[in-house]
Amino acid sequence: MTTTGDVPFRILPRITDRNAHYWQGGRDGELRLQRCRQCGYYLHPPGVICPKCWSKDLGVEAVSGRAEVLTFSVNHQQWMPGLDVPFVLAIVRLVEQDDLRITTNVVNCPPEDVAIGMPVRVLFEPHVDEEVWIPLFEPAS
């Protein structure tokens, strides 16, 4: 896991009551997502009502962190000063639910080795002073 000693450039998210579970679950090593307590549907991005059963009884749960790469791009453009390139941007699907997608970076893997369908698992990049733990993904095997 990346240590705070060599944290790469990141624009960090503004933490709110609605999103804190996602950006701060990594403090405890957990990928946490919102889930309907009535019907079990996961919501990401988080919301205020379950779009499947319209319950407002939403909780937060740790998920497995296991996922599959649905698609990705390899970015060579240095969009911001200090940004290390190339890097992989990906949409991954969590194993828990068919439409549970996260846009993320795939790391600890040469960009040319990333492939659609590849199994990946979560890891966290700590920004401890800012109280943000960025969920990232790496090859699962």
Partner: protein
């Protein structure tokens, strides 16, 4: 079809106008806007006294720099209009969503002549500092900036540009359908070839397939030539009520049908089929509102903020099947100016400049009026389509020279 429910047919496009266009003009963007607006009003044979509506995308915005050259109140004030209806905003089915709103406003009888405009000065705004100068968080490390809104889910992953998001949809299309970069290149090569005949185009030097493959990668599978070129310029058009035709300078273009649909979720990563976008739904809706068929269309002006978006629009508008845009554009003959479906005849945003959606509608109108000069599509085309927007944003307008 119950044509009473196709209200957009009560609207026409009566005039278009454009300011000077340049890579970097360093001129007041309101001046560019006014130049385009007055040109459009004159083209329609109207005066500012006749204009009683305004529609613009995205409305006044300070950031990103250069993205919006003017909002509704500035133009209202500059031209001293008396307005019966107006709107400026960006939560719309793409950039042309604002024009579609104008079409609906005149169809509903709220206004007679709506001035639609869009001005950009992204070329001047980024100056010589490159694209990062106008990107969110472009200041780099420090400053305490934190991402919010929908960018909260993208900026922390260093994805500030739609290039990065669209590239992922392209990659999935490549994966599922075997689409290749050499096929995608045809969108860029075709645009450059057409731009050579457009006196206002930004890039007019010939581009070869070798040039394309030699370009630096931006966000694989998109290289530099798959990305449009930021520029300065204003574009305007007048949407009029069809029954005002006798007051107009020339026969107006009829609005045959529009498409505005977005089925499924609005996130850039959340469209159910990751090989297409909102354009899929907008296209389907448009064809449900007309008896015309894709084979009736004689020219297509389709958004190319990134070349892959044009491929999606070709499929969405059913000029080919889902996943077949690669073979459709291969070799480039079919989409050439003298081909079966002339595409982006002004050079698109890739070569003529990122006028952000409005340039496509402007070009469709100019071509249908037979006023495109050297780049005029042969055969006096009567049916043309303009499409704009990518990702969850998409709007399309089908125009005819006669009804």
């Amino acid at each position: 079809m119950d044509t009473d429910l196709v209200g957009e047919r009560r609207a026409v496009i009566s005039g278009v106008g454009q300011s000077d266009i340049g890579r970097r003009l360093y001129r007041d963007p309101l001046e560019l806007t006014v130049d385009a607006c007055l040109a459009a009003i004159a083209d329609a044979g109207l005066t500012t006294d006749d204009v009683d509506g305004i529609a613009t995308y995205p409305g006044a915005m300070d950031t990103p720099p250069g993205f919006s050259g003017a909002g509704v109140p500035e133009v209202h004030e500059a031209l001293r209009l008396n307005l019966n209806w107006y709107m400026g905003g960006l939560e719309l089915p793409g950039q042309l969503g604002s024009v579609i709103n104008a079409i609906l406003a005149v169809s509903a009888g709220l206004a007679r002549h709506v001035l639609c405009f869009r001005t950009v000065y992204e070329g001047s705004a980024q100056g010589t500092k490159g694209r990062s100068a106008v990107m969110p968080g472009g200041g780099g490390r420090g400053g305490g900036y934190r991402a919010g809104g929908f960018m909260e889910w993208l900026l922390p992953y260093s994805a500030p540009s739609a290039a990065t998001w669209i590239a992922m949809i392209g990659a999935r299309h490549f994966h599922e359908y075997g689409t290749t970069r050499a096929q995608l290149a045809q969108i860029a090569l075709n645009a450059r070839k057409n731009a050579a005949l457009n006196p206002k185009a930004i890039y007019t030097d010939p581009m070869s397939m070798d040039d394309y493959f030699a370009a630096r990668m931006i966000s694989w599978p998109l290289c530099l030539f798959d990305c449009d070129v930021p520029c300065d310029g204003g574009t305007a058009m007048i949407v009029s009520r069809a029954d005002t035709a006798p007051d107009l300078r020339k026969p107006p273009l009829a609005v045959e049908a529009v498409g505005t649909a977005l089925h499924g979720r609005p996130g850039w990563a959340d469209y159910p089929d990751l090989t297409t976008m909102a354009c899929h739904d907008a296209g389907a809706q448009l064809w449900s509102r007309t008896d015309l068929k894709p084979t009736d269309v004689q020219l297509a002006e389709m958004y190319d903020g990134f070349s892959f978006i044009t491929m999606c629009w070709l499929e969405a508008m059913r000029f080919c099947g889902q996943g077949e845009s690669g073979p459709f554009v291969e070799g480039g003959e079919r989409i050439a100016r003298d081909g079966l479906l002339p595409l982006n005849t002004h050079g698109g945003q890739l070569s003529a400049g990122r006028l952000h959606g409005f340039g496509f509608l402007h070009e469709a109108c100019v071509q249908l009026w037979g006023e495109a000069g050297e780049r005029q599509v042969p055969g006096e085309p009567e049916v043309g389509v303009a499409c704009a927007g990518g990702g969850p944003l998409g709007g399309t307008i089908l125009l005819t020279r006669s009804r």
